[in-house]
Structures are given as structure tokens and as C-alpha cells.
């Protein structure tokens, strides 16, 4: 490589750099963590979808994935543990033109935040919910999560987990989510396409992404490096679009069923609200303006 090309290479911008807060890079995630890959797929989907980035807001909770909002060059909110979904609900309802993404982890969204998750799905709240599932509470050091597979070890289940984990696509679908998909972070193109497609849908859209946590989950369970886990995904992920979500639960080091499971249309919370009030109140009904309820001089 000549000196010239090296110089050029250092001035080239990464294709997704405009979507990131480059002044906050390097990020805090461990080597071979899968979260960065999911962020790359999300940013690539934003790039490929004709969305007005000024109108995209992102909300995270707490945890490793909870740091995603902090790295995205969008209106970004790093909220409290478990409360990303209700925080995002407030944003969406009071400025309906916003496209709001919730980007957080399995423990945050379905452990401490589980109640909000099921109710937002029930209401068909207009949120794109990206859940990164590493099977463990990673930020705090590898404690058991509501997603930890049976028999897997965690720091608080040192002799193996005996609690039944959630089957998250089934949970989301049965609560009313209108779009439900699952991929691993090995499925870069499929995941990116799913993000793009979900951005063009409305209502409660739920995408679960299985990622390696080589620092904690993998080490506690002697699963090797992040690369070993990617190989595991390669060998054990089975794509089954339209699968019955009751049959996609994840066992310890067992097959991971991936694909798009649900893609239906149903009035969103705001559509249902507007349609109902227009019907019962007629011309007296004043909807929240798309640009929100900001009252100013």
C-alpha cells in the first residue's frame, strides 16, 4: 500500500458515520459484542429508507443496548431502566409526525420494563421496538435475565437457570404487535431489510436480534469467543418465515428460529383515537397537530 492511499484511507468517512455521533466514538461495547452490528444495520436501513432524519427520535433504556441512543445522530434519549417504551409513547403522542424507535436490551424491555412492553403492544402504539437479546444482564455483570435459556449459567444462577424464559416473539404477537421478526446479528442483510421494511410499517413493530455477549454469557457458559457464537448462529439459525410464534422459543444452545413471523395491519393507537373521536364528536374533535402541542407566541 502506498503512502498516498493510506492518507486517503484515513480521510474516508465510514458510510454510516453521518448517522453516528462520531465525537462519542469509540463506544463502550466489548470486542465481539453484537450490538454494534445491530446499530450498523439500523443506520444502513435509515440510509436506504427515505425517512426524514429530523423527524426520527430514538429512545433507549439502561444497559449495554441502552447506550445505543447515545451514539445515534438523531434526537436521542437515554431514559431510565425499563421506561424507554413509555418515554417513547409520550414523544410519539405529543408530536405524532415523529417516527420513534425504541432500541434497548432484553432485560430492560422485558424484565423491568415488561409491563410497558405488553401494554404498548396491546395498544398498537406506533413504535419500532428493536430488542437486542444477549440472554443476560450484561452491563451489571452477567445476572440472570427473563430471556436466559433453561440450564444456562448466569452470575445469579451459578448452577444453571431453572426459570422458564420468555419466548419474546410469541409474547409480542399475543399482545397485539403487528410486525414481529427475529434475526441474529449474523444475518446482516436480512436484518437490515427487516429494519427497512419495519420502518415503512406502522403500529407496534417488534424485532428481536440475538447477539453474542462473549464477555459474560459466553464466558460463564464456556461457549468460546464471539466468533464461535457467530459460527453457532450460522449452523443453528433456521429461517422459518411465518412460523407459529408459539414454536420459536429458544433453548440453551439449541436451534434459533429466525424470520418474519407477523406482518399484519391494524389501526394504531393514534389512528384508533382519531377515528373514534371523529365518529363520536364529529367536527368538535380537534386532533393533536402532527407537529405537536407546542403552544407559543
Amino acid at each position: 500500500m502506498s503512502a498516498t492511499t493510506t492518507a486517503e484511507a484515513t480521510t474516508l468517512e465510514h458510510p454510516i458515520a453521518p448517522y453516528l455521533r462520531m465525537d462519542r466514538i469509540p463506544h463502550i461495547w466489548c470486542p465481539t459484542c453484537g450490538i454494534g452490528t445491530v446499530v450498523k444495520c439500523y443506520a444502513t436501513a435509515l440510509e436506504g429508507t427515505a425517512v426524514n432524519l429530523d423527524k426520527v427520535a430514538i429512545v433507549s433504556g439502561i444497559g449495554c443496548t441502552g447506550r445505543v441512543a447515545g451514539y445515534m445522530k438523531l434526537d436521542a434519549f437515554h431514559s431510565t431502566h425499563g421506561r424507554a417504551i413509555p418515554f417513547a409513547t409520550g414523544l410519539k403522542l405529543s408530536r405524532p409526525e415523529l417516527q420513534v424507535t425504541v432500541f434497548s436490551g432484553d432485560g430492560d424491555l422485558t424484565g423491568i420494563g415488561g409491563n410497558h412492553f405488553i401494554h404498548a403492544a396491546r395498544r398498537n402504539m406506533d413504535l419500532l421496538v428493536i430488542l437486542v437479546n444477549n440472554f443476560i444482564y450484561a452491563m451489571t455483570g452477567g445476572q440472570n435475565a427473563p430471556t436466559t435459556p433453561l440450564s444456562a449459567r448466569s452470575s445469579t444462577m451459578p448452577f444453571g437457570n431453572f426459570e422458564h424464559p420468555f419466548n419474546l416473539p410469541h409474547l409480542a404477537a399475543s399482545c397485539g404487535a403487528t410486525y414481529v421478526a427475529r434475526w441474529t446479528c449474523l444475518h446482516i442483510r436480512r436484518l437490515t431489510r427487516t429494519f427497512s421494511e419495519a420502518m415503512q410499517r406502522k403500529g407496534f413493530r417488534f424485532i428481536e436480534v440475538i447477539t453474542p455477549c462473549s464477555t459474560l454469557y459466553s464466558r460463564l457458559n464456556r461457549l468460546g469467543t464471539g466468533l464461535d457464537l457467530m459460527r453457532f448462529y450460522h449452523d443453528n439459525a433456521e429461517i422459518r418465515h411465518g412460523a407459529d410464534t408459539s414454536e420459536v422459543s429458544i433453548g440453551f444452545q439449541e436451534k434459533i428460529i429466525c424470520g418474519k413471523f407477523v406482518d399484519i395491519e391494524k389501526p394504531t393507537f393514534l389512528e384508533a383515537k382519531d377515528a373514534h373521536y371523529q365518529k363520536v364528536l364529529g367536527e368538535k374533535y380537534v386532533p393533536m397537530p402532527p407537529e405537536g402541542g407546542w403552544i407559543h407566541e
Binding site: H78, S79, G90, L91, S94, H116, G293, I295, H296
Partner: protein
């Protein structure tokens, strides 16, 4: 600016404090309310949810109070004035996200129609025992503002003030009603919109790229921004610098927390509000707030009839506390008497400010009813005996 007429129900009404508070919020320009049913506060949101569809407001009944407060903080970041309403147990659940609102410097209003506690306590009966929780209920160090109305009329008037203060200082404002004021029905006069002063959300004039959410530029309160205007800003509940970026250091913590404290403490004189009566030459000063202030008046009249010079301070803004006023009176009076429906909260603040120059005598009870005026009278007479 003046109130948006769409939210102002001008006229003479016969309302309870809860309805009046809801009307005050709408007059102030509140257009987002998230809440969860809880006695004795529910009538506030019941009022709002009937009227919001007529003025472009959105009410959502959330799954719990954790969600309600989180939604309110989120909504406030769109520039929409936002409020939640609750009572004791729900107030406890809101604490974490009240702290988020304080840390993110989010203007919003939290109404607590106080009932007897602790725990489930007395759902339908009065208490005033959440006053310290209003001040410091969330973990960590911060300063907030808390108001306490004594009547349905004030529930209207002061709810507007609560929204205005939340805008001026970018803080969650605690609106500390009590069950008696909430459920008391009286005449409430709602004036024309063009005489109701409201503070709008003033957004930054700086273009995207030059604006940072916590840059002070020599002011006490940073400039506002809202989601969806192209600023692509970041905010967090983590300790953050002027950019809203997390910085895990003692230096940044000092800058961040000191600012949250200073923006209130340096402006105490502008924020405090109270009624003061007969303070000149007073032997005893009685200090009360909320429903207890009304009961206290009878006790004061009884003592005055016996020739005792009794002064009266009725706190309207409870936090921040009118420290200077108490300090200045402490050298002059024989005692302060502080009736409140708890076993000693605001009285401790009076005692602290009096600095040993005059005793602060609490008149306490556990809740479930208002004070017997005789108990307050006896405390006054005991102080001058």
C-alpha cells in the same frame, strides 16, 4: 404571553379542587396528560379527558405511574406542556422518573392530591405527609419547586403558576394538593384567556450545530429544544456535560449537580410565594399550607380574641422554602407554631431556619381529617404562656 382561549373555560363555576386543577392545566396550555387512576386524584384526569379532544390535547391512561411519569417527561421534550396526576402510592412510583425529569431539566407538572399514608393508608381521606417526598423523594441531589393550594380557586390559579414556574426553571413542579382541597367544592372564577399569563416554551434561537442542550451561556437555565426540529440532540439521565453527553467524573458531577441546585437556590427570592399577615410585632407566628392553613385561621382568631399578637404565614410555594423570612422573624417572635397533617416535616425546616432563636412547635396528627382548631389554639397559647 396570554393563555390560548381554546383551553380556557371562562366563567363562574362550582368546582371541586380536582376539576379546578384540571381546568388550570388546560388554561396553562397543557396538551398532554398521562395518568393512572388513584383516589383522591382521579377527578383531575377525568376532567381533562373529557375536554382534551375539543382542544387538541391527548390523554392516555398508562399501565402504571412509572409509565405515566416517563411518558410525561418524553412528551415534554416535544415542547408540549405535560402533566401527570396521582396520590401517595402513585407518587412513590413516579419518583425515579421525577429524578429523570430533574436531571434532563424537563418542564412538567406532577399533581399529588395527598391522602393519608404510609403505603395504601387512607385512600379517601386527607394527609399532608408527602411534603418531604416532594422535595427529595427521588434519589440524588436536586432542587425542585412545590406549591400547595388552599382552595379550588387556588387549585386553578396556582396550576397555571406551576406550569409557568416549570417553564422558567426547567424543572418538574410538584403541585401538592390535599384530599380536602381536591374534594372541596367552591366557587371558581375562570377569567378571560387574555388576562391569564402563561409562560410559553421558549426554544433556542441558535441553529442546529451551534446548540447544546445544557450550555448555560451565562444564564441560570439552559435554552430549550424540542424533538423533531432537526437539532439531533442527546439527553440522558447519566451525569452529563453541556452537550448532554455522559461524562463519568467527579468534576462533571460537580458541574451538573451544582447547576441543578443553583438554578433554584440562586432564584429563591423570585420563586417563593406566601401570604403574610400581622407579622409586625407578632409574639407568635403560625405557619401553615394547604387545607391546614384554613383551619389555622380559626385558631388564630381565637388567640387574637384573647389579646395574643399572632402573625400568620401561609406558604403557597413550599419548596424552595422562604428561609430569609423565617430567619428575620426568628429574633422577634417567642415561637413559631406549625400545624401540618404529618408528624413533622415543614416544621423541621422552620426550626432549622429559626436557628435556635425561637422554638418551632409542631402541631401534628396522622391524617384522616383536618386539625381541631383547638389543638392549634392551645399550641399558640402555650407558646406565649
Amino acid at each position: 404571553m396570554k393563555a390560548d382561549p381554546a383551553g380556557v373555560l371562562t366563567g363562574v363555576h362550582y368546582f371541586d379542587g380536582d376539576y379546578a386543577c384540571g381546568e388550570g392545566a388546560m388554561a396553562a396550555g397543557c396538551r398532554f396528560v398521562a395518568g393512572y387512576p388513584i383516589t383522591p386524584s382521579t377527578e383531575v384526569v377525568e376532567r381533562v379527558c373529557r375536554r382534551f379532544p375539543l382542544m387538541g390535547g391527548t390523554f392516555i391512561q398508562m399501565e402504571d405511574e412509572l409509565a405515566s411519569m416517563a411518558a410525561v417527561v418524553g412528551a415534554a421534550w416535544t415542547g408540549t406542556k405535560s402533566m401527570t396526576v396521582t396520590s401517595g402510592p402513585g407518587f412513590s412510583l413516579m419518583m425515579e422518573n421525577i429524578g429523570l425529569g430533574a436531571m434532563m431539566e424537563t418542564p412538567c407538572v406532577v399533581v399529588n392530591v395527598q391522602r393519608g399514608g404510609p403505603s395504601t393508608g387512607l385512600p379517601t381521606m386527607v394527609g399532608q405527609a408527602d411534603m418531604m417526598q416532594a422535595r427529595w423523594g427521588s434519589h440524588g441531589d436536586y432542587e425542585l419547586i412545590a406549591l400547595s393550594p388552599q382552595s379550588p380557586q387556588e387549585a386553578f390559579d396556582l396550576t397555571v403558576v406551576a406550569f409557568n414556574l416549570s417553564e422558567l426553571y426547567r424543572v418538574p413542579v410538584m403541585f401538592m394538593m390535599d384530599e380536602c382541597v381536591g374534594h372541596m367544592t367552591e366557587k371558581v372564577v375562570i377569567p378571560e384567556a387574555d388576562v391569564i399569563d402563561v409562560v410559553p416554551r421558549k426554544l433556542t434561537d441558535k441553529p442546529p450545530g451551534e446548540y447544546w442542550p445544557y450550555q448555560l451561556n451565562g444564564k441560570d437555565v439552559p435554552e430549550n429544544v424540542r424533538a423533531g426540529d432537526g437539532y439531533r440532540f442527546h439527553t440522558t439521565g447519566l451525569t452529563h456535560d453541556y452537550r448532554g453527553y455522559p461524562v463519568m467524573s467527579a468534576d462533571c458531577q460537580e458541574w451538573n449537580v451544582r447547576h441543578l441546585i443553583d438554578k433554584i437556590r440562586l432564584n429563591v427570592d423570585d420563586i417563593v410565594r406566601y401570604d403574610a399577615e400581622n407579622l409586625d410585632g407578632a409574639e407568635v407566628v403560625v405557619l401553615a399550607y394547604g387545607i391546614t392553613a384554613r383551619v389555622t385561621r380559626m385558631a388564630i382568631e381565637m388567640a387574637q380574641a384573647k389579646g395574643v399578637k399572632v402573625g400568620f404565614i401561609r406558604l403557597i410555594v413550599v419548596w424552595p422554602f422562604p428561609e430569609k423570612l423565617i430567619r428575620s422573624l426568628a429574633g422577634q417572635v417567642k415561637a413559631f407554631v406549625v400545624p401540618e397533617i404529618n408528624y413533622g416535616q415543614v416544621v423541621l425546616e422552620v426550626e432549622r431556619c429559626a436557628g435556635g432563636k425561637a422554638p418551632a412547635i409542631g402541631v401534628s396528627h396522622g391524617g384522616g381529617g383536618v386539625h381541631d382548631p383547638n389543638a392549634i389554639y392551645e399550641a399558640i397559647m402555650g407558646a406565649v404562656r
